[in-house]
């Protein structure tokens, strides 16, 4: 349902097990081989996903959009690539389309001309000056999403967790500072690069994010290489809270690992490599 994650289409139609996700991805790769043969340089891997994430942020900033719209757009993008190959479509137009649709879904509609012209400012070489192309892509995007467009995010879940922690009993009482909440927020924004939103409920992602923040402090991305060995009292309180809750700890641990993997990969992320590869690929598509 639209207010409740547990009865939502997100849980019932767009959540996968790891195995299901692997199967879906290998079907897409089979499709690619059928279409273009084996010589593939560009892959839908974590580097590509960081690049796509940056594209969404770039257009979102130009349009002055709220973060939740961008997160919804990125969920659409991730769902789309469960079934479609990056080599079948123009990813710059796809990113634009996801944002266009997410604006409407999050009740902040932007005129199609505004979106198109900002997208052309960002990527003039790849966005044709033809709004029917964007409108056409919207149709196919919605069809691929099977018209399920309501998305549940962890942003509200984290506030609930923080409230419970503040009002908890002695062993699990914990005051989360506004700075820490801000860090959680930005880790959650990054989490859309990963498969987490296809795998786990929003409260799991929120919980994993909070754990990472408590352990690593404000500058998560810098400190992942020297994780402190000693547990402080606050982390103990959080662990007590987790133990007493019904939250699935295995899923929280998987979430934390996925995020650490992401930040690790980010350290060796090479934007120019992806950019040039994509440009070459799109030029070839036009031959």
């Amino acid at each position: 349902m639209s207010a409740n994650y547990w009865t939502s289409s997100q849980r019932n139609k767009w959540q996968f097990s790891r195995q299901e996700l692997r199967d879906a991805r290998s079907s897409v790769i089979k499709l690619e081989v059928q279409l273009y043969g084996n010589e593939s340089t560009m892959k839908y891997d974590i580097n590509m996903r960081i690049y796509l994430h940056q594209l969404i942020i770039k257009l979102g900033r130009k349009l002055n959009l709220r973060q939740i719209i961008l997160s919804t757009a990125e969920v659409y993008l991730t769902r789309f690539f469960v079934k479609v190959s990056i080599r079948e479509i123009n990813i710059y137009l796809l990113v634009t389309t996801c944002i266009y649709l997410a604006c409407k879904m999050e009740e902040s509609p932007q005129h199609i001309r505004t979106i198109l012209s900002e997208a052309r400012n960002c990527w003039p070489e790849f966005i044709p000056n033809d709004l029917t192309k964007l409108a056409e892509f919207e149709f196919y995007l919605i069809e691929e999403l099977d018209c399920y467009m309501v998305v549940h995010h962890p942003y509200n879940s984290i506030l609930e967790v923080v409230n419970v922690l503040r009002d908890g009993d002695m062993a699990s009482r914990l005051e989360v500072s506004p700075e820490e909440l801000q860090t959680c927020w930005s880790i959650m924004n990054d989490s859309y690069i990963t498969d987490l939103h296809l795998l786990f409920p929003p409260h799991i992602i929120a919980t994993g994010t909070l754990y990472l923040t408590l352990v690593l402090g404000a500058d998560v991305r810098k400190s992942i290489n020297n994780i402190p060995k000693t547990q402080n009292q606050r982390i103990e309180a959080f662990v007590n809270f987790l133990a007493a809750s019904n939250i699935d700890l295995d899923e929280v641990i998987e979430t934390i690992q996925e995020l650490l993997t992401l930040y690790d990969a980010w350290n060796s992320y090479d934007e120019m490599y992806i950019k040039n590869g994509l440009h070459q690929m799109l030029l070839n598509m036009n031959k």
């Binding site: 137009l93 509609p109 192309k133 056409e136 919207e138 196919y140």
Partner: protein, 411 residues
């Protein structure tokens, strides 16, 4: 390279490359999808159309595949394309279509019109719903004929109960309907109420913009809550309960309770004060007072209201002159038509109302024990070409919201 052209205003000394209009977008993907898609006409046999409006057209259809059985369906076709010289173009899907599609996909309840599937085909959107043979407007019309008398109490009470069950479900899911009226309350052959047409519905949890700024005209004016008429900026679920009160009164008297004349928007695009509609309400409910509605003077249109002469409350007399005698039914009506939205009864509360606990109790089938047999929904057989669907009829539809739901004029 022919897909690029030189950009004439390149700045940094180097010529900039700009994508031409035939630059690669979704070619290979589109081919693959188009081949896999099953057409709406392969799945459904179109029997004719039920209604037409500026939004598009609703067709009656019979299922052709095994899964669809031999069942009846209502297919709502949205007009999403613009035509010039007989070539259709994609123009972007209207926000109301996006809302209706996304909400219908999430919501499932016995008293909400059930969505079977959505088909996107040839630049059009087809929403397939289960077919409902009747609606409350049609039932009201049937009873307004001279020899047909009132709607039986059990039918009326059961219909009200089921409307409130459906509405309570919507509100628990943070969805406002915003356009409840007899024509939007469907009833199936088995007497089950189905709230339909979520085209104006929207979520009210955590909206990014104030609900007012999105779209200024909602709810057919006769069913519009007083706080909206007074210029309220934020909607609450209470607006739907007001409309339910108007529907209850209409089922009792077989006439719209507050049949005001709509003041059209002037050239300055300012939303006008609906004075005539407000007077219709005052005539029956009396002039609202600050004592009973403390926030009254904070509404933008309050100055207009205070200029209208005062009326005494007349609801009880109205009720009795329309043949009403049950006290609890009148109490529920008065709680639904409570002026102050903060005091108005909510959907969950009204389901527990005394009226529903006394005999006759609400039934699963609103036609149970009723001697009446309502006619089938009329269909127009002159157009069953759902794919073509000539554009002419769209504009002659009676659902005349005028320019508001034509996306091209809104810009």
């Amino acid at each position: 390279m022919e897909n690029y052209r030189q950009y004439p205003y390149a700045s940094a000394g180097q010529p900039m490359r700009v994508a031409s209009t035939d630059f690669f977008t979704i070619g290979p993907y589109r081919r693959r999808r188009d081949q896999a898609r099953v057409s709406v006409v392969q799945k459904y046999e179109i029997l004719g159309y039920i209604a037409a409006g500026t939004y598009g057209k609703v067709y009656k259809a019979r299922g052709k595949t095994k899964e669809l059985g031999n069942g009846l369906y209502a297919i709502k076709k949205f007009k999403t394309d613009s035509k010039d010289n007989e070539v259709t173009h994609y123009t972007g899907i209207s926000q109301s279509a996006i809302r209706e599609m996304s909400l219908c996909k999430e919501l499932e309840h016995r008293n909400i019109s059930k969505l079977i599937e959505i088909i996107l085909e040839r630049k059009c959107i087809y929403m397939v719903f289960e077919f409902a043979e009747h609606d409350l407007l049609q039932i009201i019309h049937y009873h307004s004929q001279p020899d047909h008398k009132q709607i039986p109490e059990q039918t009326l009470k059961s219909a009200m109960y089921q409307i409130l069950e459906g509405l309570s479900f919507l509100h628990q899911n943070w969805v406002l309907h915003r356009d409840l009226k007899p024509a939007n309350i469907m009833v199936t052959n088995d007497g089950v109420v189905k709230i339909g047409d979520l085209g104006l519905a929207r979520k009210f949890s955590n909206p990014l913009q104030s609900l007012y700024s999105g779209d200024k005209v909602v709810v057919t004016i006769w069913y519009r809550a007083p706080e909206l008429l007074l210029g309220a900026r934020h909607y609450t679920p209470a607006i739907d309960l007001w409309a339910v009160g108007c529907i209850l009164a209409e089922l009792l008297s077989l006439r719209p309770l507050f049949k005001g004349e709509e003041t059209k928007m002037d050239n300055k695009k300012q939303v006008p004060f609906q004075e005539n509609q407000v007077i219709k309400i005052l005539e029956i409910l009396g002039t609202p007072t600050l004592e009973k509605w403390p926030s009254l003077n904070s509404y933008p249109e309050y100055p207009h209201l205070s200029k209208i002469s005062t009326f005494p409350s007349n609801l009880k007399a109205w009720y009795q002159s329309n043949g009403g005698s049950n006290k609890n039914c009148l109490r529920l009506l008065a709680s639904l038509l409570e002026y102050d939205p903060a005091k108005r009864i909510d959907a969950l509360e009204s389901l527990d109302h005394k009226w529903f606990q006394e005999s006759p109790k609400p039934a699963e089938n609103i036609f149970a024990n009723s001697p009446f047999k309502y006619p089938q929904r009329k269909i127009q057989k002159d157009d069953n070409d759902i794919l073509g669907g000539t554009s002419q009829t769209y504009y002659n539809g009676k659902r005349a919201f005028g320019p508001y739901d034509d996306p091209r004029k809104r810009r």
